[in-house]
């Protein structure tokens, strides 16, 4: 029995595991639409210890997946978590889930019997660059959509207004 389980109890461990599994993110759009907050905002709600626990859980889950000779130690995971908080505070837990899911699928290349903090940070860098590009595209698309919608409304209003004026003129002039 470890200290934290004694301190906090182990009744909710399976709940966390289920909830983490239940996070379904197939692409960046799912991440953008998620209601989960970024690490920085989560720190304000659950504190730094909560954020550390969250990332530790995510990385431990990742380490569990790979069958490696040179796997990570708990200490290495703790250090990696610190670096992630420093560098990737804007990401949500959904981002990590998506990034790690892609890593498991070999999206960032094959893992050759070694996994460490540096590799994870490289994956996150690649993921974040891609995410920023997609966010930019999406933002531009949204902008275009909003603009189009505004133009459509304006056109419709113009047409309605013209129709009303025409009706008023006909009434006034008894035009048939």
């Amino acid at each position: 029995m470890n200290e934290n389980i004694i301190k906090y109890g182990n009744t909710g461990i399976s709940r966390i595991a289920n909830e983490y599994k239940a996070i379904k993110v197939r692409n960046e759009d799912d991440v953008f639409n998620s209601k989960n907050k970024s690490l920085i905002l989560m720190t304000q709600e659950i504190g730094e210890i909560g954020v550390r626990a969250l990332l530790s859980y995510a990385i431990s889950d990742l380490v569990d997946f790979f069958n490696l000779g040179k796997t990570m130690t708990a200490e290495q995971i703790a250090q990696t978590v610190e670096l992630i908080i420093e560098e990737f505070g804007i990401l949500k837990i959904d981002d990590f889930k998506l990034c790690f899911s892609r890593a498991k699928k070999g999206y960032y290349g094959q893992v050759y019997d070694r996994l460490d903090g540096q590799i994870i940070l490289l994956w996150l860098n690649t993921y974040t660059e891609n995410r920023i590009n997609i966010a930019e595209d999406q933002s531009y698309r949204n902008h275009l959509e909003t603009k189009q919608s505004f133009l459509n409304t304006s056109e419709r209003l113009k047409k309605e207004s013209h129709k009303r004026e025409l009706e008023a003129f006909k009434l006034k002039t008894n035009y048939k």
Binding site: N2, G9, A53, D64
Partner: protein, 281 residues
């Protein structure tokens, strides 16, 4: 060997000499220095004030005996260049010179002795160093030249020895159990292990020895004596292989240890998240 005495260049400035030259001229000056030379060459640096000495000096300097006698007399009584004592005459200046020379001689002799001693020691050290260096060089050369040959020979010998042992196939001698005591047999077993020292190392052999020399409760037989067949080389080979396997297993357990740590961290993290009531979905 020639001997020297100092003749200071301002000797003629001495008032006594000036007076001598004034009375006797250059001849007198010459006679004076001839007498001084004679005084230097004498053992006691004294000349007897005798007739034959005066005649000898007169002969050497081609002067008359009377003139020489008067001259010596004046040198003693008038110019005070010589001192008369117990029928002899000597020169204070000559004695001082001799003393000075003796002193210098002694100093030089001592310095020479010290220097010689040092040189002797240095030579000895140098010689010994040279001989050591020569020995070293020759040893190194020999080593370099014969190292490969030796190594090959050692390897060949080892292989031969091991082959011999294998040929003999060390099997516990049942009759020896009755005739020889336990300690003797243990030593014999130890001796049979020695040829394998370079191959397997001391640590492995010690473990092997400790295991196989464990004796039964009544202390009559050792473990290896209870085996039907006991070929040391083959047993050692198996022992070594098993140890390598064990080491690999330790390596795996290290990985398992890491994974255990990660699992514990995961459980800790989940416990904290649950305690903080974090909703992930």
């Amino acid at each position: 060997m020639k001997n020297y005495f100092s003749h200071d260049y301002n000797a003629s400035s001495d008032p006594k000499i000036i007076a001598l030259i004034g009375d006797y001229g250059a001849v007198g000056y010459g006679i004076y220095w001839r007498i001084v030379e004679m005084l230097h060459s004498e053992n006691e640096h004294k000349l007897p004030l005798k007739e034959y000495i005066i005649r000898a000096i007169a002969k050497q300097m081609s002067t008359s005996v009377e003139q020489t006698s008067a001259f010596i007399n004046d040198c003693i009584n008038v110019y005070e260049l010589f001192i008369e004592e117990d029928g002899n005459f000597y020169s204070k200046r000559v004695l001082e010179n001799i003393e000075k020379m003796e002193d210098i001689k002694e100093k030089r002799s001592n310095a020479g002795k010290i220097s010689a001693e040092k040189r002797k020691n240095a030579t000895c050290v140098e010689q010994s160093l040279t001989s050591v260096q020569q020995n070293l060089t020759s040893v190194q050369q020999n080593l370099t030249q014969s190292n490969k040959i030796k190594e090959n020979k050692i390897k060949e010998n080892k292989i031969k020895e091991i082959k011999d042992i294998n040929k003999d196939c060390f099997v516990a001698d049942k009759s020896a159990i009755k005739t020889k005591d336990l300690e003797f047999r243990k030593n014999e077993f130890k001796n049979n292990l020695e040829p394998f020292l370079e191959i397997y190392g001391r640590e492995l052999l010690n473990d092997f020895f400790r295991y196989w020399t464990e004796h039964n409760p009544d202390g009559k037989k050792m473990r290896f004596e209870m085996e039907k067949v006991f070929d040391i080389s083959k047993r050692l080979k198996t022992w070594s292989n098993n140890e390598n396997k064990f080491r690999k297993a330790v390596g795996i357990s290290e990985r398992e240890k890491r994974l255990e740590g990660v699992a514990q961290l995961k459980a800790d993290a989940a416990a904290i998240l649950n305690h903080l009531n974090v909703k992930l979905s």
